[in-house]
Chain length 337, copies 2
């Protein structure tokens, strides 16, 4: 799937920043591809990009409007449809990470056909996967896992990939979610794959590579999230990681969207090792990545020091303090590049 | 989905009985709905039904030909297509549990349209599910789990449902696979659901019911199978069982289709409890169901006695020795009907 940039990011009228994490993630890693954001009245998210009307984005040269916000269940609210049609009528392609296919909405399909534009649904693909085999593949792999959804697994994997490359490792980011696909231009939205092929798709996402190469694989969900743990387990088995990083958000009290209590970091480490051994007996935790956005700097540093000491692992906030501590751990455990 | 009977069962030319488990399962539970079997040259499976040509089945009054055999990956071999078309031209509907949609094959679609017949793809459905919520639902639930795929989980659940009803409980079998849907006329093939909705679909399959009612839920895969564990975990979380039965095949040395070694029954019990507590803190193992087909009767009884004693649980072969021992356990743990 090839998605043309520059991008115009559509945020709709979502009620919080988490719901716009697709757009925010794109801006974090590909700001130079983004011209502006389109927000409807009542939108509580902000990427920091200039606000634009769709016509202004088109005039500025945007090639694709990306629906950079999601609502529960991945549906497209009726009142967003007009904006999608306006973008198509302005000459842009439209890309979406929603569960619904843009082309399944007749007015959108007609507008795309009328204007000769493309609709990209990154959660959908027509690829066929084999079922997972579970056999060891050459190359080294790191998977981001989490105590919950939306705790920074994608960000952590992207930051780790960048830090690994800066330190001289040959590393590739492997996308498993829609934002990751927008950022990397490749990958599969794993939660949209037919259930029988989750681990097979994960094997395809992180294929055999040179022995000295590293793949840094975006995580999905949590083994402790009652909605999505199946995806998480299939990804763990398919990606057969040598090392994993536990991602955590310290102010969360319940799993996102449900009433289930949050697991501890130690529970996640133990369960990930226990399950991950099925396809990689040498799996180990190599660090903890904490989203400390809700803490001031001293609180954040104190929290990271406490967590790191408790688990005997490097603990960092990828956004604030970088990934060097965890790359050091990779070097100590697996050797210098 | 309504599938008209009597059935004619198509076995193709599959190389072993396991590959025809759909047909064999239908015969085990709905023999009175089945007129005969259609086998191509080289077929090594046998349901025990009379062999028929398709024309003979049609003449005998078959309303639906069911493709009762699967090959790896769920594809429809090219040389089976002619048989499907012949059935449609003979006036039958055709139902399939393969991953591929019958209607995606143009010659089949044309034959169905030409004859005004229906194509049923029980692995596919156009239903929309919510994501799993993980909240407790009224009613009592039993899930069949396994040390591997194809170790008798469906059979065990059907036998348990029948035994529960015979003993005065109000019990319903809940199908999660294609054969189960053929047998019960309802349910969802869970492995075909989009990954994000596995546990949500499992919640739909076993909905809230009267407090004294029981749902006996067909299991899928194994938490220790590297191809399918994600489906297994989502089903476990969504079905929030009060009790589970571990299904096992004692002569198996590797997980079916892969090189992964088989887990022990104790590993399956421990991991199922550990994971299942997320949505039902009171989850417990209520019995062990062993497929002893490869053992003679004395060996089977000795094996069951040994396994039962080792785990402090009733152990039986549902086919040979019935489910009374496990219904007794239900009565002891949860009360008489």
């Amino acid at each position: 799937m090839e998605i043309a940039h520059p991008y115009l990011l559509f945020l709709g009228d979502v009620p919080d920043a988490l719901a716009a994490k697709t757009a925010i993630g794109i801006v974090d890693w590909r700001k130079d591809w983004c011209l502006g954001q389109v927000r409807l009245q009542g939108c509580a998210a902000d990427t920091g990009l200039p606000d634009m009307k769709i016509a202004e984005g088109a005039a500025a040269g945007a090639k694709t409007m990306i629906i950079g916000a999601v609502n529960a269940g991945g549906r497209l609210p009726d009142h967003w449809v007009a904006s999608v049609i306006e973008a198509l009528d302005s000459g842009m392609d439209v890309a979406s990470g929603l569960h619904v296919r843009l082309g399944d909405i007749p007015a959108i399909r007609e507008a795309a056909e009328r204007n000769g534009r493309s609709l990209h649904d990154v959660r959908h693909n027509d690829m066929t996967f084999a079922t997972g085999k579970g056999t060891k593949r050459q190359g080294k792999r790191i998977l981001a896992v989490g105590t919950d959804c939306s705790v920074g697994k994608k960000y952590t994997a992207l930051a780790m990939d960048r830090a690994m490359n800066e330190r001289g490792y040959n590393s590739t980011f492997c996308a498993t979610g829609q934002t990751g696909v927008f950022i990397s231009g490749r990958g599969v939205a794993l939660d949209a794959v037919v259930a029988d092929f989750i681990s097979g798709a994960a094997e395809w996402i992180s294929p055999e590579t040179e022995a000295e190469n590293w793949q840094i694989i975006e995580g999905q969900g949590s083994l402790f999230h009652p909605s999505f743990a199946g995806v998480t387990l299939g990804l763990l088995h398919g990606s057969q990681p040598d090392g994993f990083i536990v991602c955590h958000e310290p102010t969360r009290t319940k799993m996102r969207g449900v009433e289930t209590p949050l697991p501890t970091i130690q529970q996640v480490i133990d369960m990930t090792i226990q399950c991950g051994r099925l396809t990689n007996p040498d799996i180990r935790c190599i660090g903890i990545a904490v989203n400390t956005a809700a803490l001031d700097k001293d609180e954040a540093l104190a929290f990271l020091a406490k967590v790191g000491e408790k688990h005997g692992l490097p603990a960092t906030d990828p956004v604030r303090f970088g990934m060097d501590a965890i790359v050091d751990k990779v070097s100590a455990e697996f050797g210098a590049p």
